[in-house]
């Protein structure tokens, strides 16, 4: 469709004229401006909602909201075209079969071997070995070999050695969806562990001997402690309501030596609505500070993030400081339980704060234990009530921790954002389906590629320049501050306003430091080469022109200027304020109003480079072809700055 206008959300004046293409996998918008021909790519699987708005004189507006928080506003000249696009997108955005998903057609041009290697990058058996398991207390059980006991669990489950198959099966019958207690994390130093399960089917009075034996086995696997914590991550009221349905929570009297604890994290429906409310705040057009803060509070989002963090902190403290094992569950044990176990692991073990370790963590606590990716993130058309930003919240918890401990994580914010993007993109097979069983049946590993291999290949982009493996912050357990006044849980504009570049800091400290580090590395190499040459020269006193010219080439590549001056030199919409000001003081005379209109016209004509602000990078293109130092590394034309090249040439 031609002559489509892409509107900039921040300002209705900035619209780009272009052509809209629909392909089997993407919506593509190409600008008409000939030099740039800027493209906006949106994967169908990223589309969360499409809204057709009332036709206006200029055309038919179409609003596309994406799961990665991009909002695209299009105006299509013909109503019929708009309707066709609308209908097609609705169908394309909600595939009914896994085979329709992008990952089955995505081919990054790597061979079969490479693909297999990619899938081997994260190996959970290796991970349990790293934790020190199997050992005297824990071993791998094959009780779930053919998914015979629990179809949402992996085939390989780690349980206490003393828990026989009989106990496990018995316990599984007493747990929702037969999700029996299994090991999530083991602390080598003090034998304390984190186990996870679903809620017991206790109703008002039911009990199960095997389940009680199972919990006892977990306690005995930690000889240093005479009790275990059982943490129910639900609000007490919810758990009590479940009793009426024959489910519920552990009765302390029936289990020997457990300490039972509720931690009130709300359910998926509350979280879905909370995110919805927060996104509405993000979408407000020129909100006041009060609108924003009030809306943020009203959404409750940060309160929920804090609840998840507090639960993780509680468990990490129990394991690290008290040396007590913890059993965590919620209702089914695949949402809140996954969040809380992974936050606790992240706090406890520095390994999970490395890039590789973080992949392992997601694979362990989310993918293998049957977090329902397909239902939660709506990959296939399904029940909208199943959709909830469960892993998004975990990813945000990690970001909040990164803000508090800037040196503790090997990866940077971009790493988190790209993982979030691909959980929804369905470009890689990792997060397909609802369980390991379904993935095996679909032969995901043979038919799709692994995200981890892709991220690992580009790991230079995702490094936190402040991370040093020998730094004190990287060691041991992290102890985050709890009170809002000690540590602020902040609104993450890098995620939720990800595509509104104008709102973000215009210069990135991370990118700057990454470029500096990259240059440092090149300098180190050059120093070595120069040292050798000097030695050779001194030895032979013969000159080597070839090497010299090579050196000069290299120094030319070293231009270092990360501050993105193009962006920096773009004013924001302060003129919006000019526009809105008459409405604020309606008592003004006509004369002033016309003055204001003049102002706007003037701004329009004198502001050609405002459009530079709308460079919304999007979609796969942005993610897959980012150079290590980012686009910002190119010395900007009008920066008038000496690049290092100049420095070098002057020498």
């Amino acid at each position: 469709v031609e002559n489509v206008r892409l509107l900039d959300r921040l300002s209705s004046r900035k619209a780009a004229l272009g052509t809209l293409y629909l392909t089997a996998t993407h919506v593509i918008f190409v600008e008409n401006v000939s030099e740039t021909r800027k493209e906006t790519w949106v994967l169908h699987s990223q589309i969360s909602s499409i809204e057709k708005q009332a036709t206006t004189a200029t055309g038919c507006p179409l609003l596309i909201r994406c799961k990665n928080f991009q909002v695209i506003q299009l105006v299509i000249p013909q109503e019929r075209d708009c309707h066709d696009i609308y209908i097609s997108l609705i169908r394309l955005a909600r595939p009914v079969k896994y085979e329709e998903l992008y990952c089955f057609s995505f081919n990054p041009k790597s061979d079969k071997e490479e693909r297999e290697q990619g899938w081997k990058l994260v190996d959970l058996n290796e991970e349990y070995n790293r934790m020190g398991i199997p050992n005297n207390y824990w071993h791998i059980s094959d009780v779930n070999r053919d998914y015979g006991v629990c179809d949402s669990y992996p085939t390989e489950v780690y349980v206490p050695k003393t828990a026989t198959a009989h106990i496990i099966v018995g316990s599984s019958k007493f747990r929702s969806r037969r999700r029996f207690p299994a090991l999530s994390y083991y602390c080598k130093d003090n034998n304390a562990s984190i186990c996870r399960s679903s809620q017991p089917l206790s109703g008002f009075s039911a009990r199960c001997l095997e389940d009680e034996q199972m919990l006892q086995a977990i306690r005995k696997a930690n000889p240093g402690s005479d009790f275990i914590y059982v943490v129910d991550t639900r609000p007490k009221l919810n758990a009590m309501a479940n009793r009426a349905a024959g489910k519920g929570y552990e009765n302390e009297d029936n289990y020997s030596n457990i300490k039972f604890q509720f931690i009130g994290i709300e359910n998926i429906h509350v979280m879905r609505n909370s995110l919805q409310k927060m996104l509405e705040v993000c979408e407000l057009k020129s909100p006041s500070m009060s609108d924003f803060l009030w809306g943020l509070e009203n959404s409750g989002w940060l309160k929920h993030i804090k609840a998840i963090m507090d639960a993780g902190i509680f468990i990490a403290k129990a394991v690290a400081e008290e040396g007590v094992s913890v059993l965590v569950h919620c209702s089914d044990g695949w949402d809140r339980t996954a969040q809380v176990c992974s936050v606790a692991s992240l706090l406890l073990d520095p390994y999970y704060r490395t890039m590789k370790g973080f992949m392992v963590l997601i694979e362990k606590d989310w993918v293998s234990f049957g977090h329902k990716f397909n239902h939660r993130y709506g990959n296939l058309d399904g029940d909208p009530k199943e959709i909830s930003p469960v892993i998004d919240q975990f990813i945000e918890c990690v970001w909040q921790l990164m803000e508090q401990f800037p040196c503790a994580f090997e990866f940077n914010e971009r790493f988190l954002i790209h993982i979030q993007h691909h959980i929804y993109s369905c470009q890689f097979g990792n997060f397909l389906c609802n369980s390991q069983k379904e993935r095996r049946e679909l032969k995901i590993q043979e038919r799709t590629y692994s995200l981890w291999a892709h991220l690992w290949k580009n790991r230079a982009d995702y490094l936190n320049p402040l991370y040093r493996s020998d730094h004190s912050q990287t060691q041991g357990t992290l102890h985050p501050q709890m009170a809002p006044c000690n540590f602020l849980y902040k609104f993450w504009s890098g995620m939720y306003n990800r595509f509104e570049k104008g709102l973000h800091p215009r210069q990135s400290v991370t990118d700057y430091l990454m470029a500096v580090k990259e240059e440092t590395q090149q300098l180190e190499e050059e120093l070595e080469v120069l040292g050798e040459r000097l030695a050779n020269l001194q030895k032979s006193q013969s000159n080597d022109n070839k090497v010299k010219s090579k050196q000069q080439d290299r120094s030319k590549q070293l231009g270092l200027s990360t501050s993105n001056n193009n962006l920096a030199n773009t004013p924001q919409e302060y003129c919006n304020d000019l526009k809105s000001f008459p409405s604020r003081s309606p008592s003004q005379g006509d004369e002033e109003d016309s003055a204001l209109i003049l102002t706007q016209d003037n701004l329009k004509s004198s502001d050609p480079d405002l459009s530079a602000n709308s460079d919304q990078e999007s979609g796969v293109e942005d993610l897959s072809c980012r150079s290590p130092s980012g686009g910002g590394c190119l010395p900007s034309e009008d920066s008038g700055k000496d690049s290092d090249e100049a420095v070098f040439l002057a020498v």
Partner: protein, 550 residues
Amino acid sequence: MEFAELIKTPRADNVVLHRPFYLAVEGTLCLTGHHLIFSSRRQDNAEELWLLHSNIDSIEKRFVGSLGTIIIKCKDLRIIQLDIPGMEECLNIASSIEALSTLDSVTLMYPFFYRPMFEIVEDGWRSFLPDQEFELLSSVTDEWRLSCINKEFSVCPSYPPVVIVPKSIDDEALRKVAMFRHGSRFPVLSYYHKKNGMVMMRSSQPLTGTNGRRCKEDEKLINATLRPGKRGYIIDTRSLNVAQQARAKGGGFEQEAHYPQWRRIHKCIERFNILQESLIKLVEACNDQSHNMDRWLSKLEASNWLTHIKEILTAACLAAQCIDREGASVLVHGTEGTDSTLQVTSLAQIILDPRCRTICGFESLVVREWLQAGHPFQQRCAQSAYSNSKQKWEAPVFLLFLDCVWQILRQFPCSFEFNEQFLIMLFEHAYASQFGTFLGNNENERSKLKLPQKTMSLWSWVNRSEELSKFQNPLFEANSLVIWPSVAPQSLQLWEGVFLRWNRPSKFLDEAHEEMINIIKYNKELQAKVNALRRQLAEMETDDRMQENL
């Protein structure tokens, strides 16, 4: 007056000091004329705490049996608690601190007694003189002149002795304009934008009153800043309503009929007690130890602090936009032209002028646009967030300005030569200092107090390399461009460095900062090494070639 009269108990032993995130320490408390000194004599961890009495904002006392407790709340927002055994000692100490921290006379303040322990390289009182500023200006334009009309502070008591005005306007006309402006603050040059020759002027409100008085000289003066056929903008920092109400009190705004070449834009920046209340509420929220996220957000919202930040920044961006993008001259004023006006003019300069983003340039900006421009520091900064005095003229105007600078710094972390610590340091010294820089309300008062002769300038201390190194931003790369900050709520944050400074452990953030410095230092070292080697190689190679040629 002898300070000794006020100090009934100069010393108390076995006092216990409590601070957040530190273990309680036992030690000795001493009171001197200007300081509260606490020293612990623990072998392993001897430490001393020196607190200026002038830094103390409020003091509370409590008793449990004979053990007295004093809670001291400082203007830099720190709160400490001292447990003092003995009711009498405690009462004596509390009343002494109260008396010493609220001395009436400026000449009794510490700057008049402070003797520097460092060598003065450059006298800060002479670092930023108007003549130097004018010299810079006259190298690019000859349309302005330095007027000594206010030499004896006879025309405008809150202006410096010399001001920069359009060349075509003589002193006689200036005198008439002064009669027409509130507090005689006639329009003067604030900033000259070299890129396009546009200017920013500042003044106070015109005294039009209800019957629309006009002053031909005033019109002529501000029209003299316009290019032929060009328009200018008047940015009034009050809402239209407030401006209209001001007419009843003899004030007002420029009427369109008399200033046809100017377009007036009203921006609403709050003043005085509204700002002070906002600060008090914000600090209260920041000190709330509850673990409840919702309460925190609603308290933050209710304080309105970030709303003020957004308003001020928006007005400053607008002024900058008019100058840089519209190519128009701008006049900024509110009522007196000593508060919101200065916030707008100084922030606009930070956006427009790369020089103001250097350490020296920023100091010069503070001197020009705040000290010499007559921001009444002594009145505004007499008390901070914990005071109960509620005087009408107390207001965190300067702190809001620094906060806005921090917001821009956060958005452009590589464009400023100074770091956050520099801004925090200025905040501290504006409220309590051993230096005379921020004493007095204007140049007139400062000259009467003979501050340059009797006290030390803050700049003399800051501008030594030992101190400067603490305030330098390792990420700084000179950026010659105009920088446009975002004023969207998502882009504005609470300035934790000031407001959560004493409530959060800073270890991890400090470590991150250190790591940053190390990364950059190592890079610079390598660069130097590589360059040295290159030079050496090049020399050897030319030697070789010469030998070959021979």
